[in-house]
């Protein structure tokens, strides 16, 4: 079926289109070139007075896996307070901060998002993460495999294994777990905590393996470059939330020796030690480092005031933060000699100096990083806030007056320690399109996503302009997924299943022989039962697989 979307203003940064009135043509689920005159158009959608962007892509959101389910289980009061009944079309569920899977899919779709990436898939927990994402409707998904704290890798590194062996190991693991990227969380720190090491800076050796986070980052970054994984190493740097940690963040960039990195939720890693409270913003130092290193990208992990729950594989720092839990409870897990997890509920308070400054640091980063292709919009859902706050965050970026009004409502000591009030920048629609879809698509190597050119998947959002940008982005007029209208005027019209995006990598099969022995002696399952096939994904887990290969 050929559909024409007529008369909208197009914001498509990948193709350099900035608000130009242009028709879009969709043939089934793909965007196509304008057909020859006389070709029959089956359906016309009037976009007069509307503007159009491709479907939103969240590059870092915790939507699936064991740690997310622990959070759901723990946030019982929150789930009870927000229950949603099923109707003829929509399944039921609960929760706003860490919603159940069906609700997650519906709420993302209502905001115009069509793709989401789970950033922390522990190898042995990959099946669960994919099953949860398969039960998240209306979204295409993918995941980054957590490596760099796994005993097998640390042993290889400690023993000075050949580069090729490390490369093959990583490629095999990404392939076997159906992932599209690799993430390292507190490099070496999760493992070090298992040896009762309570802190680990970038150049500090792991108590047992004697390797440093810097070496881990460099080795992983080199390996990803060699195996031609498009998305650079996704790094949750050392010293999460620790005052003065901006130095660790910059040291991590230096450790990678010019290789590309993506720094995750960098707001939580941009703190200095100035002032009476020994806690200050170092956003300008981080922004400068990003400017000086064009091979670096970041997502912000902005915080919003209110209740949330923090979820991380970084057991070392989550455990250290457990006394700040609100409500007072926390769950931790050491997982399969691969990683760990810590779940700590938290309430960000606008009257708190530290929390208010965290809020300001996020804005400073967005506003100080000049090149929008290097910064992506996230709240590190749900760590900084729920993804449902994105429209509010976009308004803060686009509307200086609104932003300054918000500044007047928070802890004033924090305001005095921040330069947000002096920052005049207002994001344009073109820049918003970059940080919410075009940038993530390019970073992940998704050639048919994040844009509206011919050949792109027909995922797009039609918005109506309004003075209040929060209203605009919270209420798309129409959301189109795979060529089908799934949301109209805030209501879900039809539900379609998403697909799972994975990397297609090559490796020397001989790596499996050594791994077989390791799994038998040290693991709790055989290698033959570890790998997830495309067939299992499609027929048992419930997601059709889309493979990506890069040269």
């Amino acid at each position: 079926m050929l559909t024409r979307i007529k008369g909208g203003a197009i914001y498509d940064p990948i193709n350099g289109i900035d608000g130009v009135m242009q028709d879009i043509y969709i043939d089934d689920n793909k965007i196509v070139d304008r057909p020859l005159d006389g070709t029959q158009i089956d359906q016309t959608i009037d976009a007069n007075g509307l503007f159009i962007m491709s479907g939103g892509i969240d590059i870092h959101t915790h939507i699936g896996g064991g740690k997310v389910n622990i959070a759901r289980m723990m946030m019982t009061e929150e789930c009870d307070a927000h229950q949603v009944a099923h109707d003829g079309l929509l399944r039921s569920g609960s929760g706003r901060i860490v919603p159940s899977t069906f609700i997650t899919g519906y709420e993302y779709a209502k905001l115009g998002y069509t793709m989401c990436f789970e950033p922390a898939i522990v190898p042995s927990n990959a099946r669960q993460a994919h099953m949860e994402m398969a039960d998240t409707p209306l979204l295409d998904t993918g995941g980054y495999l957590v490596l760099g704290n796994d005993e097998y890798f640390l042993n290889l590194l400690a023993k000075g294994a050949a580069t090729a062996t490390i490369r093959d190991y990583i490629a095999f693991m990404v392939d076997a777990t159906q992932c599209i990227g690799v993430k390292v969380v507190n490099p070496g720190g999760i493992s070090a905590f298992k040896f009762n090491q309570r802190a680990l800076d970038v150049d500090e050796p792991h108590r047992h393996y004697r390797v440093t986070p810097g070496e881990i980052v460099r080795t992983l970054a080199e390996a990803l470059h060699d195996i031609k994984l498009q998305h650079p190493l996704h790094v949750h740097t050392s010293n999460l939330g620790v005052p003065g940690n901006f130095a660790s963040t910059i040291s991590t960039v230096e450790a990678a020796d010019g290789l590309p990195l993506h720094l995750a939720h960098v707001q939580f890693h941009s703190y200095g030690t100035e002032g009476k409270q020994r806690f200050s913003s170092a956003a300008s130092e981080i922004a400068e480092a990003v400017k000086q290193n064009p091979q670096i990208s970041v997502d912000v992990g902005h915080v919003m005031f209110g209740q949330t729950v923090t979820i991380s594989a970084d057991t070392m720092h989550q455990f250290a933060n457990r006394n700040h839990a609100h409500p007072r409870k926390s769950t931790f897990m050491d997982i399969e000699c691969e990683a760990g997890c810590g779940v700590v509920p938290f309430r960000y308070r606008s009257e708190s100096y530290v929390n208010a400054l965290q809020w300001a640091v996020g804005l400073e980063l967005f506003l100080a990083i000049d090149n929008p292709w290097q910064v992506f919009l996230t709240t590190d859902h749900p760590n900084g806030a729920s993804f449902t706050t994105y429209p509010h965050l976009i308004r803060l970026l686009m509307d200086k007056g609104y932003r300054n009004d918000a500044l007047s409502t928070i802890n004033q000591s924090a305001v005095r320690m921040s330069c947000v009030a002096q920052m005049a920048r207002e994001y344009s629609l073109y820049e918003v399109a970059i940080i919410t879809r075009a940038g993530p698509a390019r970073s992940l190597g998704l050639k048919d996503r994040g844009h509206l050119g011919a050949g792109a998947n027909a995922d797009m959002v039609l918005y109506r302009q309004n003075d209040n940008w929060e209203t605009v982005f919270a209420n798309p007029v129409r959301v189109i997924k795979d060529g089908k209208t799934v949301v109209r005027d805030g209501k879900i019209e039809q539900v379609v299943a998403g697909r799972s995006h994975r990397a297609h990598l090559e490796y020397d099969e001989n790596i499996k022989r050594e791994l077989e022995q390791y799994f038998e002696h040290n693991g709790s399952m055989r290698l033959s039962n570890f790998s997830i096939s495309d067939d299992e994904m499609a027929n048992a887990i419930g997601s059709q697989v889309v493979k990506h290969k890069w040269n």
Binding site: G64, G66, V68, N69, R72, M73, M74, M75, T76, C79, D80, Q83, V84, A85, H86, D87, R91, S92, G93, S94, V98, S100, T101, F102, I103, V122, S124, N125, R127, Q128, M131, D135, N155, F193, K194, F195, N196, F319, R328, K329, S330, T331, F332, M333, D334, I335, E336, C337, E338, E520, H521, N522, G523, S524, M525, R526, N529, I532, A540, I541
Partner: protein, 419 residues
Amino acid sequence: MSATASKIRNEAICPFCALLCDDITVKPDSADLSVELNGCGIAQSRYSSIVQPTCNKCYVYGNTVDCTDAIQSAAEMISKSKAMVITGMYTDVAGSRAALKLAENKSAVIMQSDGEGNRSQTLRVQRSGGYFTTLSEIRNRADLIVMFGRGPVSECPRILDMLRPRCPSTDISARKVLFVAIGAGDDSASEGSTSFECKPEQYGMLADAIRLRVQNTRQNSKLGFISDEQIDRLTGMITRANYPVLVWSESDFKYSLGDLAIDSINQLIETLNINRRCAGLVVSGSASGPSVNQVATWQFGKPLPLSFRTGEPVYFPEYHSFESLEKRQDVDLVLWVGGLEDQSQIPRSKADVIVISHSKPTKSRLFIPVGIPGVHHDGHLFRTDQAVAMYVRRIVPSSLPSAAEVLTSVLGELESSRC
């Protein structure tokens, strides 16, 4: 099903307890299955008792019918029901997904038959959290394993094999591992282990006494059932260890205030982690328990039991126990979903009963046989540590449908007839 057409299956995953051992060898004999290698008592017994093709018949009112008719009859019964309860839930992830969808569509209450068993630990996590570990971590890192009660070994007979290091020559596992059995009676954890006699009702007090010593707040307990010297010795073993792991099963805590004892063990772990490392492992018998709770939690934000009577997923365990529903006359149809259970322990009820399971119970109005995940069909099951889901593959060809297939067909029938 033709068992003779099957081959010996190495590295099969045993689905009959929550350890999901994946190193067993299963041999199909002429009519039966037998475990050739690494089978524990439960595996030997369960594989050898699997009923072969003769069971592949549906029954309605005692009469044999074909599967299509049975599904239609089930849909008719369900469509007339105003207060269905789905229970048993001895099934895999796919069966859980289908049963939850049916419960949601028909405003049913859905629960595990042994749901009581996991409730204390669930409550603990909901209230306070905890610190847990997994099988590989224990195998590679633990240097002291403290096992409370007989439950872990009786429910998962190979648990000690799974927790012991297999290759002591690798650097991370080059260590001496001590076992301490608390209250295991004659079934002490293993040869050479240290054991302390105490009753399940005393586990909490013992954990509290150790915690107070760790905190240096009290050195004199006078518990009566164990001497202060023994508590000191046990405390010393735990505090000297680099990675002590405390293992328990909820089945040993089924007494009044058992949840407080579980709380005490968790508090001890929490206290130990302030300055050193320690973690817990909760052992559950059936893999279906962790599996169905994981699915319910990701799909609806809450574990079982769940009531969809109002359209929303309501979690109120005390109100939605089978007994209280019966008492309120809020049950007019029971749907038992099984496959992995040892025996169908269908609750007593005046209501009609539909059984979807592998073995035919003595009483049911309608019976539809299904295969066992990991024997007759593929499926996903969660292991006792809840961190790992395994893909259990069928080991014999079978014409038996899975529980998920039957439930999906019933749902399809309900939707097509707009029941």
